[in-house]
């Protein structure tokens, strides 16, 4: 860059220095919640998570009302809905055409994508932490209403929970980047793996493949404590298919696509 600066003394340093990735990440996090769609999605996730606790206190057998029990069930709403936030983070730039401003202000598109991915991981971690806190409250309440109230929780359940959230959020961002169209990406995100599950379940020849590639099946093990290495391997293979491939193709597409 020095050569460039020598040639063009009129360029201020403020305009040549790249925008720090931390700053971009903060902006992407803010963009997740500063629209009605994003804000309501977060509110719905919070209410749905609280509802899982309420359902358990109201209807689950007393012995299931433990800290771990509340936590495992409480992760479900965010596992389903947070990826939609990830999808919106990518597709919103194109359907709302804000990519024009975003990439005009930050021409290094890779940095914006990186910031979106980091923001996605952070929100996944934050939602798991929130689910954990909510489960603690629910456990106290549950114990008061005659629940088991046990506080023992297997450490693996927590960080497997984090990994589960991260995988699905990144999968959402990947589908969003690949399709760059909100309704299409949301439908594809939910329908394509489901169709694959149905095919894998009905067609015998696909059975073994389905055990490895069906991400809805392989990640079920993640909500049970102490996953085996075999289960991890299956998660890794299915994540490669449903997360890494769409992400790689999607990033390639966003980097090259003409913005207008």
């Amino acid at each position: 860059m020095t050569a460039v600066l020598e040639n063009t003394p009129q360029l201020e340093q403020a305009s040549t220095r790249p925008v720090p990735i931390g700053r971009l990440t903060m902006i992407e996090l803010r963009k997740l919640a500063d629209t009605r769609a994003g804000l309501w999605l977060l509110i719905v996730i919070a209410f749905a998570t609280a509802a899982t606790s309420a359902i358990m206190i109201g209807w689950a057998p007393d012995e299931e009302q433990t800290f771990q029990g509340f936590f495992e069930f409480g992760l479900l709403p965010s596992a389903v809905l947070l990826p939609v936030l990830g999808i919106l983070s990518m597709t919103g730039e194109w359907s709302q055409r804000t990519a024009l401003t975003t990439f005009t202000l930050v021409p290094a598109r890779g940095r914006v994508i990186a910031a979106k991915l980091i923001a996605g991981v952070l929100i996944a971690i934050a939602s798991t932490a929130a689910a954990l806190a909510l489960s603690a409250v629910a456990n106290l309440l549950g114990a008061a209403f005659g629940g088991d109230g046990s506080w023992s929780i297997d450490g693996s359940v927590i960080w497997q929970g984090v990994a589960l959230q991260v995988i699905f959020v990144l999968m959402g961002i990947g589908f969003g980047a690949l399709l760059l169209n909100t309704p299409l990406a949301i439908v594809a995100f939910f329908a394509v793996p489901m169709v694959w599950s149905i095919l894998g379940g009905t067609i015998k020849a696909l059975k073994t493949a389905a055990e490895w590639i069906d991400i809805n099946t392989t990640t079920t093990a993640m909500s049970e404590p102490a996953m085996t290495s075999g289960e991890w391997a299956r998660v890794a293979v299915s994540a490669a298919v449903w997360v890494v491939v769409p992400l790689a193709l999607g990033v390639w597409r966003v980097l090259r696509r003409e913005v207008s």
Binding site: L11, S15, I27, R30, Q96, T98, F103, P107, E258
Partner: protein, 299 residues
């Protein structure tokens, strides 16, 4: 300073922009003129690194736009005022940009005020904005980083006459303080009032460019006769090419004396014989770009 050299963009076989070269100097306003679909926006998007060119280069202050780490602090860009998230408030749009550029967020209300968006408008979502308000918001976005260069695509679209007048003053002032302005429009009159230089583009090619005064001077002579049919005949016989204006006049690429003599020889009564000025430029503009709008409709 903006330098565009041999910029070309082809979509399949269709050349949207064909070997376009021009430069914009500090302290001047350059009007980028052409009908819709002439390639103005594509050229501007290529300057801003949003569209990869098929050939040629564009630099801003000597640097390709994409090499600027934080371009907002040097170049203010408004390419499409309606390209904003409908669900964000005007203030939020500017705040996000301020955070990105590393500009103090206290500049946000100040800049909104500068473009004529008050506190009530700032709190409203962009969905509720009129096109004129969106243009003002876009202009605020461009001005926020205190840039030295402005690139504005059709900024007067949707502004009321008072707004257009205000914007002209703002751009003039910006250039007078040493800034570089590239401003596109499909309306000659709109640009004529503020531009120092003109670049006229039609069908993806530059058809005329230069100092506004020179361009206006070189646009030929307007002649109007009592008997238009006879004038046609005389001009044809004298080998003078002319294009008809809408009010019955003819713009001829020749001096007043030559036309006057030809008319006198034929005993023709002339009602008007004068430098064509902006009317001539408009005529040239229409002629050079004739048929483009038809093509655009088909494309």
């Amino acid at each position: 300073m903006i330098t565009v050299e041999h910029l070309t963009k082809r979509y399949g076989n269709h050349p949207a922009v064909d070997n376009v070269s021009f430069s914009c100097e500090p302290g001047t306003v350059t009007g980028f003129l052409g009908p819709n679909g002439a390639g103005k926006s594509t050229t501007m998007r290529m300057i801003c690194g949003l569209t990869p060119p098929t050939a040629g280069t564009a630099t801003v202050s000597g640097v390709p736009y994409r090499r600027l780490g934080n371009p907002g602090r040097h170049v203010g860009v408004l390419l499409d005022a309606s390209a904003q998230h409908a669900g964000r408030t005007g203030r939020e749009v500017l705040s996000l940009a301020a955070l990105t550029m590393g500009v103090d967020t206290r500049e946000v209300p100040r800049t909104l005020d500068r473009v004529g968006l008050n506190a009530t408008a700032a709190k409203r979502r962009v969905r509720a904005y009129s096109l004129g308000m969106r243009q003002r918001l876009g202009l605020a976005l461009a001005l926020l980083g205190d840039p030295a260069v402005l690139i504005l695509d059709e900024p007067a679209n949707g502004l009321d006459p008072e707004g257009i007048f205000w914007m002209r003053g703002l751009l003039r002032d910006f250039a007078d303080r040493g800034g570089t302005v590239l401003l596109s429009s499909h309306l000659l009159r709109e640009v004529e009032a503020v531009a120092d230089h003109l670049v006229v583009i039609g069908g993806g090619r530059v058809v005329a460019q230069g100092d506004k005064a020179e361009l206006l001077a070189a646009t030929g002579t307007l002649v109007r006769a009592l008997d238009p049919a006879a004038l046609d005949l005389v001009l044809k016989r004298a080998g003078l090419a002319g294009t008809k204006t809408t009010d019955g006049g003819v713009v001829v690429q020749a001096g007043a004396e030559i036309i006057g003599r030809a008319a006198a020889d034929a005993g023709l009564v002339l009602l008007e014989l004068r430098p064509a000025g902006s009317g001539g430029l408009e005529q040239m503009f229409l002629t050079l770009t004739a048929g483009d709008s038809v093509k655009e409709a088909v494309r």
